[in-house]
């Protein structure tokens, strides 16, 4: 037994700040101090604290250190680990003494951690630590005590909505596939997280990969599938490595493979790497990609739950959705409903980014307001600037402004203001930014990522960029604004898939609330550049 555990968060951000060499130095210094029997250094996924350098937590005291540099390591070891004296100058200022991260600290205070309950607490490369936190208990219980119908019913009754962005009822989707009669069915975990500003799935996979695998196993049992694929974006090297390792460990323990828990149920999972196309986050394009074809969306219907991968019934669920499923099975649908609002039960993981003092990975119960997220959890906007807008759900997300700061966030309320929760990015923009330039940036992204299958998206995204460029470069007029609006409206109605339909959403959102900014730019243009007839 180790009397002290030093947790070190390993995520892309902390690794870039030197977390690896700090870990090595810690182990070496602990060794030199003769404490290797007493102290254990544990790597975990993200602790949700971003932009604060390397983050350490020393347990049992629960002391958080941020911005740890290589030269601080010997002091932490000799002062805190040997003498028990906290190195106050490195201490994370927002976490008061003796407080459990999830319960008392202001940053975490309004958060409810369901999906992230293990992230930053367990070693994601140890199946034992996942099992210690009730891991695979739900799967074991389901296989030995429940029928697939029971599992389906629990998930359906919980009212869970898919966290990929569309918020489609998970239980209903599973039900479609469960009803299909087929010798083969598939579960796909969509981890092709491509929305700019969104990195929650990455951190879930890195912090708690087994939770996602367990969710897939349960989905497989509920619909009668025996094979699952985790389709991970190719750039997510650490997610891929950790999921692969988790699969190996689960196989070794007999939690994947044949006749799991002696129940006669077989299930296996493989990883498929994406090749960097945004469109492959669209479920039918993703399926095409797994089949080895060019990633382009399919015509719907038929939908994947009836005709999916290799033409067989297939469920495609988001990482966060699957990671929640084991908790619902363990604690029940009523517990899940008690979180969040009536229309949108549960919690949502967001990556809080942009002009914010405390960016990072957060999980909040739905029904929380933008004000609470920005000013309590995010600690406000830097340099005393004012709040201009927030974009919810990545680049395709709707626009919220100061009039929406106190709107409880759930799908019904957001729909009423033509926005949605989306994939989980929350971009906060302060009042120094020019909205037209911001929108042009979004438009360029979609133009680059349009797969080219349908004319409206292929040509439309390009024309939007041209029109916006015209405005920002000083050649536009108010007529162009009307044209942008008309074109965007057509794209929303007629583009083939979600990409083309969603691309105009932020543009129209900004036009709705900041039309004056567009007009000001057009008028300024007319003064600057005389338009020849």
């Amino acid at each position: 037994m180790h009397r002290i555990h030093v947790i070190i968060a390993m995520d892309p951000h902390t690794i870039a700040q030197g977390a690896r060499s700090i870990k090595d130095a810690l182990v070496k210094n602990i060794d030199l101090a003769g404490l290797n029997q007493d102290v254990r250094v544990v790597e975990t996924g993200s602790l949700g604290i971003y932009n604060k350098g390397v983050v350490l937590v020393v347990f049992p005291d629960g002391i958080y250190y941020t911005g740890v540099k290589l030269e601080d390591v010997s002091e932490i070891v000799s002062e805190h680990l040997v003498k028990g004296r906290v190195v106050t100058r490195l201490r994370y200022s927002e976490i008061p003494e003796e407080s459990r991260a999830e319960e008392k600290a202001p940053r975490f205070g309004k958060q409810v951690r369901v999906v992230l309950k293990n992230a930053g607490m367990i070693d994601p490369e140890s199946i034992e630590e996942y099992i210690a936190q009730d891991g695979y208990e739900a799967f074991g219980k389901a296989l030995t005590e429940l029928t697939p119908k029971d599992v389906l019913k629990i998930v359906t009754d919980s009212g869970m909505l898919g966290r990929g962005g569309a918020f489609f009822p998970t239980g209903m989707k599973w039900g479609f596939a469960a009803r299909e009669k087929s010798d083969e069915k598939y579960i796909i975990c969509n981890a092709d997280e491509g929305e700019p500003g969104t990195f929650k799935d990455r951190l879930i996979l890195e912090g708690d990969p087994h939770a996602v695998l367990e969710g897939m196993c349960l989905a497989g049992y509920a619909i009668g599938a025996h094979m699952g694929y985790v389709y991970i974006r190719g750039e997510y090297h650490m997610s891929i490595a950790r999921v692969r390792r988790a699969i190996e460990q689960a196989k070794k323990q007999g939690l994947l493979g044949k006749n799991i828990f002696g129940s006669g149920f077989d299930f296996d999972i493989q990883v498929r790497e994406g090749a960097g196309a945004y469109i492959c986050g669209e479920e039918t394009a993703l399926i095409e990609s797994i089949e080895g074809k060019r990633g382009e969306p399919r015509d719907k219907p038929p939908f994947p739950p009836s005709v999916g991968l290799w033409g067989k019934p297939t469920i495609v669920n988001n990482v966060e959705t699957l990671a929640t499923v084991p908790q619902i099975l363990l604690k029940g649908g009523d517990w899940y409903k008690s979180l969040g609002t009536e229309s949108t039960p549960g919690t949502k993981v967001f990556t809080l980014v942009g002009n914010i003092n405390n960016p990072g990975l957060i999980e909040v119960p739905l029904g929380i307001t933008l004000r609470e997220i920005i000013y309590d959890i995010g600690q406000g906007i830097p340099n005393g600037r004012g709040f201009k807008l927030a974009q919810l759900g990545g680049t395709t997300g709707g626009i919220l402004t100061s009039e929406h700061l106190d709107l409880p966030l759930d799908i019904i309320n957001l729909r009423s203001v033509e926005a949605g929760l989306g994939s989980g990015a929350m971009l906060v923009v302060d009042d120094t930014h020019n909205v037209v330039e911001l929108v042009q940036n979004f438009a360029e992204f979609f133009n680059h990522e349009s797969c080219g299958k349908c004319t409206l998206c292929r040509e439309g995204t390009g024309r939007l960029v041209e029109l916006l460029h015209k405005l920002t470069s000083g050649c536009g007029s108010e007529k162009d604004i009307d044209l942008i609006e008309r074109l965007a409206g057509h794209m929303m109605k007629s583009a083939f898939c979600g990409l083309g339909q969603a691309a105009p959403v932020p543009i129209l959102g900004c036009l709705r609330y900041f039309r004056d900014d567009f007009i000001a730019m057009a008028q300024q243009n007319q003064q600057r550049v005389p338009v020849s007839a």
Binding site: R3, H5, P60, E137, T144
Partner: protein
């Protein structure tokens, strides 16, 4: 692994190792490890406590250290803390006594009154 019981066996074992990270412990054992404490043998007291705890598979106790408590002549000092209870401080603790503290105070909730230096 073939049964739920197998899963739970792994769980219990891993939980024990992870107890240090759970801040819900019933007991908190504090060994004073200032210069005075270490000179008087606090290090071997600490080792004995950890060894005894893991031998007995106790998971609701965390062991931590502190600096000089200001009673250097009574070192090594060991404090047993419980939420909402008086803190018991044992003085002049040997490794053998430390094992008894784990067995009797933590294990059976019996204070070893002969060696209590202070209650606060």
């Amino acid at each position: 692994m073939k049964t739920l019981a197998d899963l739970r066996a792994i769980k219990e074992k891993a939980k024990l190792e992870m107890a240090t990270r759970e801040q819900t412990a019933k007991y908190r054992l504090v060994v004073a490890m200032g210069t005075c404490g270490i000179a008087a043998g606090a290090r071997s007291v600490m080792t004995a406590i950890i060894d005894e705890i893991s031998k007995r598979g106790i998971s609701d106790t965390v062991v931590t250290q502190t600096g000089c408590l200001g009673y250097c002549d009574q070192e090594p000092l060991v404090q047993v803390m419980q939420p909402d209870k008086t803190v018991i401080t044992y003085g002049k603790i040997t490794p053998e006594l430390a094992r008894r503290i784990v067995a009797e105070h933590i294990g059976r909730d019996q204070v070893i009154s002969d060696h209590v230096f202070m209650q606060s």
